[in-house]
Amino acid sequence: MLGLDKKDSTLLLIVVALTMLAPFILNPFPTESGLAQFNAGYPDLMQRFVIFGIFAIGFNILFGLTGYLSFGHAAFLGIGSYSAVWMFKLLSMNIIPAILLSVVIAGIFALVIGFVSLRRTGIYFSILTLAFAQMSFALAYSVLTPLTNGETGLQLTLNDPRILGISQTADGSIPVTNLFGLEMRGAFDLVVGPWSFTFSAGYYVCAVVMLLAFYMSIRIFRSPFGLMLRAIKSNQQRLNYTGLNPKPYTLAAFVISGMYAGLAGGLMAAMDPLAGAERMQWTASGEVVLMTILGGAGTLIGPVLGAGMIKYFENIFSKINDNVLHSWFSFMPDGLEDSVVFIIHPFVGKGWHLTLGIIFMLVVTFLPGGLVEGGQRIARLFRRKKTVEPKSAKTEPAE
């Protein structure tokens, strides 16, 4: 299907089904129940899932395939957001030109930064990208204030020109972002018994874009180009000796992943038309590194899983407070309950970063392939139990 082999088509179909049905899947608990706070099916969060999914997919094309660890990818995300907001200010509130511009601008920046940074490898490459990203961040905060509006962040105003659109709506408010009239903020609630599901236009636009991005990344992974990138990861020197110049390939990978980041930034601005410099800070770059590694660098689905997991942690896990914990463990005797809550307390709620850090360290130490590798190991365990013949349990040699 679509030029993919059977395994990849299945994967793509699963991802399509999951993203399309996400409003149901992420809302498993009835609205009134005590567990309703673990529902992640509200538009804002679902959009973030897929947008950061795109970001991580793009990062994975660079890090997963070529092994170049960039610590400055958030710069492209920020650049994408700024360009999209400028398009909203100047041209129209339609998201298509805004997203196109953000991809193009991010691509240009990635070309320049990549051209310079890729002259070095290893830790030097990481430091160079980090330096460029911090430079962009510092500039966005200070000198480029006319372009970026400094600390306040770039926002839409009532007197923006918007050549192809309207500066303000009839009732004097700022128009909302749309896709040929389909408002991004528009949502439709479906109430089934105690459950309530929200279908947001913005989420579905993002989801479709993510599916396209995901399909692209499968094609890249399976293409001769992707194979070349893997060759660079495994042994660049040998590649040089065979007379191939790896530079154009790494640069192409860098630009592609920069454009993915720009796309994510553009979408982010399309959902919520403002852009701030903090999106470019190096901790934001660190976040996408966390996502990709957590999910599984170099795998197709890993980055999306990682992005989903981190965003879930950030938004849902962080809401667990002492009251919730007490209600969970209320079946225990009082003293025991208090001590259990006391032990768990630092790891949940505001301490979610701590849990994340610990999980991340464990993953890097024991599961270099991330959650995907963990899943594969578990699957293999089950398969081994089912099949009686020990021969079929032989694992394939690692790539």
């Binding site: 092994g67 660890l69 310079v116 002259r119 070095r120 290893g122 830790i123 030097y124 990481s126 430091i127 160079l128 980090l130 330096a131 460029f132 911090q134 430079m135 510092a138 500039l139 905060y141 200070s142 000198v143 480029l144 190096w282 901790t283 660190g286 590194v289 966390l290 590694i293 630092p346 301490g351 970063h353 701590l354 994340l356 850090g357 610990i358 991340f360 360290m361 890097v364 130490t365 270099p368």
Partner: protein
């Protein structure tokens, strides 16, 4: 002329922080070959050592003083630190006032201990793994350490004032005045740097470590347990970062993410100085500190706006592209 001297002075105190952190980073990289992204967190923990000591010294008991009343007319509760009751009010309060310098004594064993635990517990397992993995796992560790500190001390900066005798302003010449504590910080960093170099240069232990840095395998073949020595060096590097943090408290109130802010810059410093070169790290630290303070001069900013924000990164990019081994890096080390 005065403004130039002032900028150099300004650069020196920031530069000394950079130099100390970069020195620790280089010690770890040069001995163990590990890129330690958690080094900024060690700096931060050092700063919080002094916060902890300050809190310990301020432990106090409450007494009801019948002679004083609060605005409601109730007898006032007076808190007296235990120290004041043990050593008498004057001695006690001056001990509390000197909590930051005293924290040096407190921080050294704590930091060395943390360094040991880090190396033996975690980093040991990453020697054979690629640099990217080392970066990632220490990055995770940095997050964990930062969050633990945030949990216990909160997210707001905590003031750790310098003792009164050292917190004034010094009249250096007729026109130049400068905060005393910053001069103290500079001298302190010179002392630490000198001590580390002397330790490596003039002791047998240091000699073995240097030999191990040059050729680990041969030293091992000579029957020396070089891993053990390197573990101790890791502890020392942690202590250097921690001390830099302790003394930095009065300049910038410790908060939980101060380490991350410094980490990026000190990596840049290490790269500019040359990976694995101790003198390079120190030199680059001071150089970049001074450069940064010159770039933030009024005249320079009007000439090239925003240069003060990016000068360090700009220098790093130029150096990395033109002289990848850094200012004083050895040929062939991580080029």
């Amino acid at each position: 002329m005065d403004s130039i001297i002032l900028q150099i002075l300004n650069g020196l105190d920031k530069g000394s922080a950079y130099a100390l952190i970069a020195l620790g980073l280089t010690l770890i990289f040069g001995t163990l070959g590990v890129v330690n992204f958690a080094h900024g967190a060690l700096f931060m923990i050092g700063a919080f050592c002094s916060v902890t000591l300050q809190r310990i010294l301020n432990l106090s008991y409450e007494t009801i003083d019948a002679t004083q009343t609060d605005f409601l007319g109730n007898p006032l509760k007076v808190k007296t630190p235990y120290l004041e009751s043990w050593f008498g009010p004057e001695m006690g309060s001056s001990i509390i006032e000197w909590s930051v310098p005293l924290a040096i004594l407190f921080a050294i064993p704590v930091m060395i201990g943390i360094g040991f635990i880090m190396e033996r517990g975690l980093i040991k397992h990453f020697y054979k793994r690629p640099h990217a993995d080392q970066i990632l796992v220490t990055f995770g560790l940095a997050i964990v350490l930062q969050e633990i500190v945030k949990y216990y001390f909160g997210a707001n900066p905590i003031q750790t004032p310098a003792p009164e005798a050292l917190s004034g302003i010094a009249q250096l010449t007729s026109t130049i005045v400068y905060p005393v504590w910053r001069i103290v910080y500079f001298c302190f960093s010179l002392l630490i740097i000198g001590a580390v170099f002397a330790f490596l240069q003039f002791t047998t232990f240091g000699m073995v470590v240097r030999a191990g840095m040059a050729d680990r395998e041969t030293v091992g073949l000579l029957g020396i347990d070089i891993d053990r020595k390197f573990t101790i060096m890791f502890g020392i590097a942690a202590a250097v970062a921690g001390l830099a943090g302790v003394m930095y408290g009065p300049i910038n109130a410790p908060n939980y993410h101060m380490g991350m802010d410094f980490l990026v810059l000190s990596f840049v410093v290490v790269v500019v100085g040359g990976m694995g070169s101790l003198p390079g790290a120190v030199l680059a630290g001071f150089l970049l500190g001074i450069l940064e303070s010159f770039a933030s001069m009024e005249q320079v900013i009007t000439l090239i706006p925003g240069i003060n924000q990016i000068i360090i990164y700009l220098v790093a990019i130029v150096i990395l592209l033109t002289r990848p081994r850094g200012l004083m890096g050895r040929k062939g080390v991580m080029e």
